[in-house]
């Protein structure tokens, strides 16, 4: 069934006349009754009901009757389907069928659209017409306005059993409306079942020329703001806006959100919660990686059957380029449908994303091998999508009054060698393979002059035969050939590779069906002709040794190995099948760096229990605690990194505008980032995940704990204050970006003079916004950007400001004073030592690098004594990383305060523990070793400030997320699992699976972000491609 008669596909155009009332007719009207009776069939009415020996009556477009004992009225064409099956034709819940790629252009992009991703700067839409400001919000698009029947594509889908599809425009963040259409080859007017099936969304801005958003967090902010704008729009009379108007009009439709991975499902679900929307998610099929969270959305899904091909792993060096994650994903992808079914999650299936729709059935059968029930498979292809698209009254099951959309098959639809014979769409027949045709598969003995001792083996499917020939004798030869059938005629050719030399061509007819006998004339390699006869001798030989060929039908298919490894959390290297639990532990006889007034205590015990530090003291009783001898070792509070860019999806900067206070790193936390784990191995337990420094006012920030394996929401530091990133200097001026020749738009500011004005302007607007909201309440358009700034004015949101040189630091202090806000922290602050007195007077903290300098002009006077000087002046001083590598040895960076400036060791360690905790207002929970605080602690092999110190164990909330003593075993277990997966891939290749090269997998590099990373990330988080940039913020 997956193989279809490539040469015999007779697409029969049956010209029933339409009562096309509004269209004139050329010649006499050709109105036909279109009355058919399909009898003696096994009729699968729905996944829940099957009628044996049933009859289906159709008239023109609709089903008249379906049942076991139905009298056939006169005037019906009767089709006897004895031994055959009838199913409702399938529904593909997600396609771009009939929507030309040009649809995007049809709805217009701006005049500056040539720029694509970020090269040409387009601050606001240049599209003609009263549209919204951002071209990625295209709610005005409607598939029906650009739809046109695509007979070739329809045929492709009909071949594999589909009769109805959802058709959408795949472009933009708000994508307008889709429709449900049948795959009929008729005038467009007749195939539309629902002209507004659903409203569509994604996080990808698509072809929009507007620079904003360039990041995933920007996409999220834009969509949220659009919801608020649309609410406001309803009650205002100031402007007409097509985009918002249409956005509102489409809100009552089903809302479909296309996302990539499970994390993005969670992100969209959060938006849905905020605006009371229950989205249907179209995903990439990796829900199994975060099943509980998927279930918790309460949503339905549309999932693809895009299972990765096994990788080429024979070359062990190349195989090293395939990650553990990729191998696991390869193995587990086919389990996804079954996993969702078992979890009780409602889903529809789609062909979307398949390189070749011809692989649909093979993949579906694979999913069934992995536990998807046939019942659910059928539902996911019929009743469920029908309901999602609002066409359950028309298609999805076989019932009187519904569309005559059904398929006729040789067998159970899900059996591997089933054949789809016909696919009827709206009462119109589409022939895939001729009904009632004999099956020619089998082994044949060939006779004829010069053709003796040749055995033919015809395998494959009746739709697509494969031929192999075997010359027996002293020097036996096997070869594959071609077998073509047209009606009762057959032709074949094969080359016995020198035995004799050249191609033997046969042409003939079926002369008998019992046993099958074929007869005709052959042309031999020497040009001579001879008669031949091939007589059936038995079933086709199974595969092996090339005889029987690939895909030789069910008989030859290798049994799928359905034993799979466990899902790991997070789904990457070093993920755990079980997330570790909090432990009760007594550390005996350690040197304890309390960061409290007790200072550094020798020969001291620490007891942790229920995720908290229970006691610190001498000779503590163990009770039920596990005892760890920490003699000669050191215990410190977990390291807190004030400035980190790890664990982010889809970009670190939304630098397209000078002010992007509306974006939030909280929206794009990536729990699957290996750096979370690597940093645990360096004693880091808390990180402040910052927006980059591309603009004066960046995004809102998120403090996380390194709870390796937990979902993004669970990483967030409970109850922590909200922060926001500001930035000064070269990055916000864009001074290190290449100058764009002939650019007509350059983002303000380009000087430090301009930077000041950005702040003054932004806070002026925020004040006015605040005042207006106070008076007029919700009548004032809710502005997420100004709201964040107003929170700063209200002392509810706190600033950490990327800064280098003294002039600009001084400037911002003055702006803050004049506008009435406070700066919590200057981060990087390499010239903090020059203005430490001013910072002190304003109670501003300084978070800096230990020793970075000379990487750009504004750090020409950065000195490693900066921390010491700020500390001595009395500032809360810390050292941060801004770098995934440095973050995992921040303890050493703290040690450099001893190298440069001879700070006391006790105070030096606070630079990376207690002091950043103070800056982040979390020092009541973390940052020191004190009874009652969170058990976020590190056991070090030596003085933690020393180059020789190794983090042996790192606990977060009492959970040992990093344990050096377990690491070797963990690596070994990974190696074993990897070896198992590699062997399985080699086996898969051996049994004929197509493979993919290592490194061909879309370049799955994971970006590592620093302040300065400003690539447009849009392409990345859509395709999975990553970018990297090197160099410091």
């Amino acid at each position: 069934m997956k193989k279809l008669l490539p040469f015999c596909i007779a697409l029969l155009f049956v010209h029933f006349a339409q009562a096309q009332q509004t269209f004139p007719v050329n010649g006499a009207w050709d109105v036909r009754p279109g009355q058919y009776a399909f009898t003696n069939a096994t009729i699968v009415v729905s996944a829940d009901q099957t009628i044996t020996n049933g009859t289906l009556l159709i008239k023109d477009r609709v089903i008249e009757a379906v049942g076991a004992a139905i009298a056939i009225p006169k005037g019906y064409v009767t089709v006897d389907l004895k031994g055959k099956f009838i199913y409702p034709s399938l529904i593909d819940a997600y396609t771009t069928y009939g929507v030309p790629d040009a649809a995007r252009a049809a709805f217009g992009a701006g005049g500056a659209a040539t720029g694509g991703f970020g090269r040409t700067q387009v601050p606001v839409s240049t599209k003609a017409g009263p549209y919204g400001w951002n071209e990625a919000i295209k709610a005005e698009m409607s598939a029906k306005a650009v739809f046109h029947v695509d007979a070739a594509k329809a045929a492709e889908l009909k071949k594999i059993g589909f009769g109805t599809v959802q058709s959408l425009i795949h472009d933009g963040i708000a994508r307008g409306t889709s429709m449900a259409v049948t795959l009929g080859d008729e005038r467009d007017n007749f195939v539309i079942l629902n002209d507004q099936a659903a409203a569509h969304y994604s996080f990808s801005k698509g072809t929009a020329a507007t620079n904003y958003p360039s990041s995933l967090m920007g996409s999220i902010a834009l969509l949220r703001q659009t919801y608020y704008d649309a609410q406001w729009y309803k009650n205002q009379k100031e402007e007409y806006n097509i985009s918002l108007d249409e956005f509102n009009k489409t809100q009552s439709l089903p809302q479909v959100f296309e996302v990539t991975d499970p994390l993005s499902v969670m992100r969209a679900a959060k938006i849905g919660k905020e605006f009371g929307k229950q989205y249907i998610y179209k995903t990439d099929g990796t829900e199994y990686q975060r099943l509980n969270e998927m279930k918790a959305t309460g949503s339905s899904f549309i999932i693809p059957l895009t299972f990765p091909a096994p990788y080429d792993v024979e070359d062990p060096i190349d195989a090293r380029n395939i990650s553990y994650e990729q191998m696991k994903e390869w193995e587990l992808a086919p389990t996804n449908p079954a996993t969702l079914e078992k979890a009780g999650i409602k889903f529809a299936l789609t062909t979307y994303g398949l390189d070749n729709t011809g692989t649909f059935w093979a993949n579906l059968q694979k999913a069934i091998d992995f536990g998807l029930t046939e019942k659910q498979a059928l539902n996911a292809l019929t009743a469920i999508p029908a309901e999602m698209l609002g066409v359950a009254d028309k298609v999805g099951t076989l019932a009187p009054g519904k569309m005559a959309n059904f398929i006729i098959t040789s067998d159970n639809l899900f059996k591997k060698d089933n054949v789809i014979y016909e696919n009827w769409v709206e009462g119109r027949q589409y022939v895939v393979g001729k009904l009632g045709i004999s099956d020619l598969r089998g082994a044949y003995n060939l006779t004829g002059a010069g053709l003796n001792n040749i055995t033919l083996n015809v395998s494959g499917t009746p739709g697509s035969y494969t031929l192999s020939a075997l010359h027996t004798g002293v020097d036996s030869t096997r070869t594959t050939g071609t077998f073509t059938r047209a009606g009762d005629g057959v032709s074949m050719y094969f080359d016995l590779k020198g035995n004799p030399v050249g191609t033997i061509r046969l042409n003939g007819y079926i002369t008998s069906l019992s046993p099958v006998t074929l007869k005709g004339f052959a042309t031999l390699p020497d040009g001579s002709s001879t008669g031949w006869v091939a007589t059936y001798t038995g079933p086709a030989a199974a595969g092996g040794g090339g005889f029987g060929g690939r895909g030789g039908g069910a008989a030859t298919a290798a049994k799928t190995n359905t034993n799979v490894g466990p899902v790991i959390y997070p789904f990457t290297a070093f993920g755990n099948a079980e997330i570790p639990k909090a432990e009760t532990v007594l550390f005996k006889n350690a040197t304890v760096w309390t960061n409290e007034k007790d200072g550094i205590l020798k020969n001291t015990d620490v007891l942790i229990e229920n995720g908290k530090i229970k006691a610190v003291g001498k000779n503590l009783a163990a009770g039920t605690a596990k005892v760890i001898d920490a003699t000669g070792k050191h215990i410190s509070a977990g390291i807190v990194d004030e400035h980190s860019h790890i664990a982010l999806s889809g970009g670190v900067n939304e630098g397209t505008h000078s002010v992007t206070a509306e974006v939030r790193t909280a929206d794009v936390i990536n729990s699957e980032d290996i750096d979370l784990y690597r940093q645990l191995a360096g004693g880091v337990t808390t990180s402040h995940i910052l927006h980059g420094s591309a603009n004066p006012i960046g995004g809102q920030l998120q403090i996380i704990k390194h709870r390796w394996g937990m979902a993004p929401e669970e990483l967030k530091f409970e109850g922590a204050d909200g922060y926001i990133k500001f930035a000064l200097g070269e990055n916000v001026k864009g001074s290190n970006n290449p100058v764009q020749f002939g650019a007509t738009y350059v983002r303000f500011p380009q000087t430090r003079m301009g930077v000041e004005q950005v702040y003054v302007d932004a806070f002026q607007r925020a004040k006015e916004y605040k005042a207006a909201r106070a008076v007029k309440g919700s009548n004032v358009r809710r502005d997420l950007q100004l709201e964040a700034l107003a929170e700063i004015l209200d002392n509810k949101r706190f600033i950490t400001c990327h800064s280098y040189v003294q002039s600009e630091i001084n400037m911002l202090i003055h702006v803050a004073d004049s506008m009435g806000f406070r700066i919590n922290t200057f981060t990087h602050i390499l010239e903090g030592y020059k203005v430490a007195d001013k910072m002190k007077a304003h109670n501003i903290a300084g978070s800096t690098f230990s020793d970075w300098w000379a990487y750009k002009n504004e750090v020409a006077e950065a000195i490693p004594y900066n921390g010491k000087l700020m500390h001595e002046v009395g500032l809360v001083t810390g050292f941060n990383s801004d770098d995934a590598e440095m973050a995992r040895r921040l303890n050493q960076e703290a040690g450099k305060a001893v190298t440069y400036g001879n700070m006391s060791e006790e105070e030096a360690l606070k630079l990376v523990t207690l002091n950043p905790a103070k800056m982040l207002h979390i020092d009541n929970k973390v940052g020191s070793i004190k009874a009652g605080k969170d058990a976020d602690i590190v056991l070090w092999s030596a003085d933690p400030l020393s180059i020789y110190a190794v983090a042996e164990k790192t606990y977060v909330d009492g959970v040992p997320y990093w344990d050096l003593s377990q690491d070797a075993a963990k690596q070994k277990a990974m190696k074993i699992e990897e070896a198992r997966l590699i062997q399985k891939m080699i086996d898969a290749k051996g049994s004929g699976s197509a493979t993919q090269r290592a490194g061909a997998a879309g370049g799955r590099r994971r970006p590592q972000y620093e302040c300065e990373t400003t690539e447009d990330e849009q392409a990345d988080f859509v395709s999975g491609l990553g970018t990297q940039s090197s160099g410091k913020q």
Partner: protein, 438 residues
């Protein structure tokens, strides 16, 4: 700060503490014999002498031993009792002196010439002895460096310089020691994994391996022509090929930047074919082929221990463990950091490996004697042995650890160098502003 200005028996008379970069002058030649006594002497070859002495005159080490130092008439004696004495650190493969401001100040960047094949380009003449960065690196014990060109396939030639000089001629320690080649990468390299979303089938017909093979063929042809060129006197000079002649007569080394296993193996075979003295630079996957490196006597200059693993699946500490792996395999390995200003962390890059298996003396050898051997300067420096240059420094504590490193006194070729730098000056300036004692 007090430790930095700790005066040692009046010896630091030459170090006049005024605050202006221009006054950090190169030291005068050694005028009298010097004996340092009572120190723990780290020879650089793995040996440690407890309570030892070292004597040097006219820039050369004349005696090293334990116990009472021999009397030398007219010698200055430095009592370093309880202190540590080290050979000066050697920083290979660096852009120190070639770059002053990394970004946004192109006028200060002289490390990458345009074009792909630049064997004739020489870093020595671009080495800026007046760089403000050099004294900050020197302050952490780095006394010699190899300013190295970057970019293209053949980036040019490097030299070894000593870090206390009036001009590049003075600085030259060993000129034009080798050429730098970046091996064509056959795979993507870099990190892997982490990307989500589904694989995209390879669409291009030319695989990365095929592209790399083309590049390799071109490289091979280039070397074949360069070798033939060197065999006879040429009527028409080709500066590029002429610059490569030393590779084929063994007077110049070929430093090959390669990280992947395949690339390293290819490079080794290539060096063997042309009988080149190859040094592997970087070698992130050198641990995979350590036995081949050993067998072919190819030394490795590790780039950074303080780095992330290149693959998600790798041991999280792999870069920290690399020196130990090469040590155990018997490979000659040295170490560098990256960039230019960051080379002041060279001692810590070395110390990093100690928590992961290396001994402290082995870690020290990485950045002293091993680097000297790899650069071909071990006859005159790299360890504290009689006859070698007096390139050495004193630190009260362990120089590989940040909490104890404190280079109070340093000598290059017996010259007592000025340990001041821009950062110390600014520290002093602002300590004064706030009324703090540095």
């Amino acid at each position: 700060m007090k430790k930095i200005f700790l005066s040692l028996g009046g010896l630091l008379l030459g170090t006049i503490l005024t605050y202006g970069q221009a006054t950090i002058s190169p030291a005068k030649p050694q005028s009298a014999a010097i004996i340092i006594t009572g120190a723990t002497i780290h020879i650089g070859n793995g040996q440690v002498i407890d309570k030892g002495y070292i004597a040097f005159d006219k820039g050369k080490i004349t005696a090293v031993g334990t116990g009472a130092a021999p009397a030398i008439a007219g010698a200055q004696v430095i009592d370093a009792t309880g202190k540590q004495l080290y050979p000066g650190f050697i920083c290979p493969i660096t852009t120190l002196g070639l770059v002053e401001i990394e970004e946004g100040a192109r006028g200060t960047v002289d490390d990458t010439e345009t074009g792909d094949m630049n064997p004739n380009v020489r870093s020595l003449i671009a080495y800026n002895t007046d760089s403000k960065v050099i004294p900050t690196v020197r302050s952490n014990g780095v006394l010699l460096a190899q300013p190295t060109p970057e970019g293209g396939t053949i980036s040019g030639q490097s030299s070894v310089v000593q870090l206390d000089a009036w001009n590049w001629e003075d600085a030259a320690y060993k000129s034009d020691i080798g050429l730098h080649l970046t091996w064509p990468a056959s795979s993507r390299g870099g990190r892997r994994g982490g990307g989500r979303g589904l694989p995209v089938a390879g669409a291009t017909t030319e695989t990365p391996a095929e592209r790399a093979q083309k590049a390799l063929d071109a490289l091979d042809s280039y070397f074949a022509q360069a070798k033939a060129y060197a065999e006879v006197k040429q009527p028409v000079a080709n500066l590029r090929f002429a610059a490569m002649a030393g590779l084929f007569n063994g007077t110049k080394k070929l430093f090959v930047n390669a990280d992947g296993t395949k690339e390293i193996l290819q490079a080794i075979a290539f060096a063997k074919k042309y009988n080149l003295q190859m040094v592997l630079v970087g070698g992130k996957e050198a641990y995979m082929v350590a036995d081949v490196l050993k067998e072919n006597n190819v030394p490795v200059i590790i780039k950074e221990t303080q780095a992330l693993p290149s693959k998600d699946d790798d041991d999280v500490y792999l870069p920290y463990k690399m020196p130990k792996i090469l040590q155990d395999a018997g490979v000659l390995y040295g170490l560098t950091g990256i960039g230019f200003w960051r080379q002041r962390n060279l001692p810590f890059e070395a110390g990093q490996a100690v928590g992961y298996g290396l001994t402290k003396e082995q870690a020290l050898s990485m950045i002293t004697l091993n680097n000297a051997k790899i650069l071909g300067i071990d006859k005159t420096t790299g360890s504290l042995e009689v006859g070698k240059d007096a390139n050495l420094f004193i630190s009260p504590g362990d120089a590989l650890d940040m909490i104890t490193l404190d280079v109070t006194t340093a000598f290059i070729q017996g010259r007592n160098i000025n340990m001041d730098n821009l950062h110390k000056q600014l520290y002093k300036k602002f300590s004064d502003k706030y009324g703090l004692k540095p």
